[in-house]
């Protein structure tokens, strides 16, 4: 315990020394620092992104100062509360950031021209209780279905667009018998939620309508649209490989990349892995319940950037953020980190073909983040955690119905979440 208490002021002190030292070294142009948890991106920022910015704005220097992912939240909090911290802070989505906004860490971004490139849903993860934007959306991850195009061609299958077509396709692959229809298993429960239910579900609960309905208490998880979504997910069960109860995420990906399975329900972050064996891979979005229905796609906000309210260089920081909001930054970043997607409504070109296909799924689709991460998981039991657990129970036992899952989820949520209590 002691060691944690000691290390936080220490980290803050180091942070002060660090930013102080940098400021002194480049006295002429303004130097601003950017805190981030993406230590793995250090080369991308230093060699590609920041030089591109500095070429246009020679009067501003940006220092990329990452902190280890696991310590990031604690370190940023102690730095800012100690009056230090970077001028720019990378923002976690939803509940953590909402707390930071409440504590007054950020300068409001109202009036920043670049903000117009993002719609309300994209900004939602970083809005305060006053609905104002405090961080600029930078990158999101998507969820969809990778498919083996050669298997589809061999069996004469078309990419499904409705739930019924989806089941028909799975049925046809199963009947043929040579390939596993879905490379999917339930040993790792998180991906039952993130790559399964939260991917196909929004088409039933109408994306934001259902998600926000749960948050303000107007809807319940036992409402038919949620039960139907869980039932549509349960319908995958007959098409999973045998022994799926024990298959973990690595097993699933491997089954697909070895060409033994036709479809892999997965997130965009797995693009490099899914194509690693040189298969002819395509991607399709979650099917709609009935032909002609509105399409929905899960777009999970991953990171934004905000301005430290105590920064001495707010103007320079705003200039930088405005550039980050534009297509030049977005293209540089998403091409350096395939699987991450720009959240801007301005078109962005992806050099990775599959990433471009994934990004094309956004056209004409309503976007929505993962169902349970915003406010609904900030108590005990957290809705997200319960969803993982109960979906796993549903997939590993034969006698649990979607209705039971929905009822238990609702009971858990209503036991602590105010708007659902009444």
């Amino acid at each position: 315990m002691r060691s944690i208490r000691v290390s936080i002021p220490l980290a803050a002190t180091l942070g002060v020394m660090f930013s102080g030292g940098v400021g002194a070294a480049f006295a002429d142009p303004v130097t601003i620092t950017l805190n981030s948890w993406r230590t793995e991106d250090i080369a991308v920022w230093q060699d590609t992104i920041l030089p591109a910015f500095e070429a246009k704005h020679p009067d501003i220097k940006v220092e990329f100062a990452p902190i280890n992912t696991n310590e990031y939240n604690a370190a940023v909090q102690s730095q800012i509360e100690g009056g230090a911290g970077g001028d720019l802070i990378t923002c976690r989505p939803f509940d953590v950031n909402r707390e930071w906004i409440k504590r007054g860490y950020f300068e409001p971004l109202e009036g920043l021209p670049g903000l117009e490139n993002f719609d309300k849903t994209s900004r939602a993860a970083w809005s305060g209780a006053d609905d104002k934007a405090y961080c600029l959306p930078v990158a999101a991850v998507l969820a969809g279905f990778y498919y083996n195009a050669d298997i589809f061609k061999e069996l004469g299958l078309k990419v499904p667009t409705t739930s019924a077509e989806f089941i028909d396709v799975l049925q046809a692959i199963k009947k043929d018998g040579r390939y596993t229809p879905l490379a999917y298993g339930s040993a790792e429960s998180w991906q039952l939620a993130y790559n399964g239910l939260y991917s196909i579900g929004p088409a039933y609960w109408k994306g934001e309508e259902g998600r926000l309905g749960l948050i303000d208490g107007k809807k319940k998880l036992t409402d038919p649209e949620f039960v139907d979504a869980i039932a549509a997910f349960e319908a995958w069960k007959p098409f999973l490989p045998s022994g799926q109860e024990s298959l973990n995420y690595a097993d699933m990906t491997q089954l697909f990349t070895l060409g033994k399975a036709a479809i892999l329900p997965d997130g965009s972050w797995d693009i490099n892995q899914a194509t690693s064996t040189g298969l002819n891979v395509g991607v399709f979005g979650p099917p709609v319940p009935k032909a002609g229905d509105q399409r929905f796609l899960q777009e999970m906000p991953d990171m934004g950037i905000g301005i430290n309210a105590k920064s001495a260089h707010k103007e320079a920081a705003k200039t930088f953020l405005d550039w980050v909001a534009g297509p030049e930054f977005q293209e540089l970043y998403v091409n350096a980190a395939p699987g991450f997607f720009a959240m801007s409504s301005k078109p962005v070109t992806y050099k990775n073909k599959l990433a471009q296909d994934f990004a094309d799924l956004k056209k004409g689709a309503e976007l929505t983040p993962r169902l349970a991460l915003d406010r609904l998981s900030a108590g005990t039991p957290p809705l997200d955690d319960e969803t993982w657990r109960l979906l796993q129970v549903m997939f590993t036992k034969s006698d649990v119905t979607p209705q039971q899952v929905a009822t238990e989820l609702q009971t858990g949520l209503a036991s602590w979440y105010g708007p659902q209590k009444k």
Binding site: M1, R2, G243, Q244, S246, P381
Partner: protein, 295 residues
């Protein structure tokens, strides 16, 4: 000649470095963790004394206490499997190794049997996961994915890894049994079975008891293999959750759960007491009565 007082002073001087290290790195963290369990430290600017509120939450909140009792019961099962399988297996192998039947290959067997205990848990978990993987492995049944078999499966993996410890422990105890006694028993007409149970086992009973209670301590502080295989929310449906993983999830948080340091400190204190009380009771009630024969 040095006076007794000076001797004691010297003794103290020699003990001091180890004592200091022990106090700073074992006793102090333990004490601060116990103290912390009576405070509310997260979410507030200053620490507030809350008395037993964290314990009350741990034992009365439906979800938190439900998961706690589940972890405790699972841990008992985890211990029981080790006690029933690992310790007798160690005894059997130690008996075979010292029986003289293996002649010169004794050393080879001893080494081979001990090797798993030297492997990293991550490797053991990975290898076994592959062996019993329904897709690529030898067993078609999803042992780890079924609630009724998952915990037993993990327990047996742990047994496989660690049976070498009781084996070596009892092996060295058996080596210390004087040959005269065994020979005398043979001359009196006792067979191998009788000699073992009437002569050898009573002589190593204190060590046998010790390894049993050590197994208790190890399993109730167990964490690594379960964590390596199933992460910090060990499924399916928390059926492989033990006290170590429950503590980890509470204190450090998991991807689906926020960290709660104070509640975590309360859990740690309860685990400490569980281990302490049973161990103390064992030494008080049983170990004292196991007579060690001097020959």
């Amino acid at each position: 000649m040095i006076s007794p007082a000076a001797a004691y002073r010297n003794l103290l001087l020699f003990v001091l470095p180890a004592l200091a290290v022990y106090l700073v790195f074992a006793v102090l963290p333990l004490a601060t963790s116990i103290v912390m369990s009576f405070f509310q430290t997260s979410g507030t600017s200053s620490d507030t004394f809350v008395g037993l509120a964290n314990y009350e939450r741990l034992f009365t909140h439906p979800t938190i206490s439900g998961r706690f009792w589940n972890a405790l019961l699972n841990n008992m099962q985890y211990f029981a499997i080790h006690l029933i399988v690992e310790v007798p297996m160690g005894l059997l192998l130690a008996a075979l190794l010292t029986s003289g039947k293996l002649a010169r290959s004794e050393g080879i067997y001893r080494t081979l049997l001990f090797i798993p205990a030297t492997l990293s848990v991550v490797i053991v978990g990975f290898v076994w996961r592959l062996i019993i993987n329904p897709l690529w492995g030898l067993v078609g049944f999803p042992l780890l994915g079924t609630e009724s078999t998952a915990l037993t499966t993990i327990s047996l993996m742990s047994v496989w890894q660690y049976f070498g410890i009781p084996m070596v422990f009892l092996y060295s105890a058996l080596l210390a049994v004087p040959n005269e006694l065994v020979e005398a028993a043979n001359i009196d007409g006792a067979g191998g079975w009788t000699t073992f149970w009437k002569i050898k086992f009573p002589l190593i009973a204190p060590q046998f008891g010790l390894i049993a209670i050590l197994t208790y301590i190890w399993t109730f502080n167990g964490f690594d293999l379960v964590f390596a295989l199933n992460g910090s929310a060990p499924g399916p449906n928390y059926s492989t959750d033990i006290l170590g993983t429950y503590f980890y999830r509470t204190f450090f948080g998991s991807s689906g759960q926020l960290a709660d340091l104070d509640l975590g400190a309360a859990v740690a204190t309860i685990i400490f007491l569980t281990v302490l009380l049973v161990t103390a009771a064992y030494f008080w009630l049983i170990q004292r009565r196991l007579k060690s024969y001097s020959v």
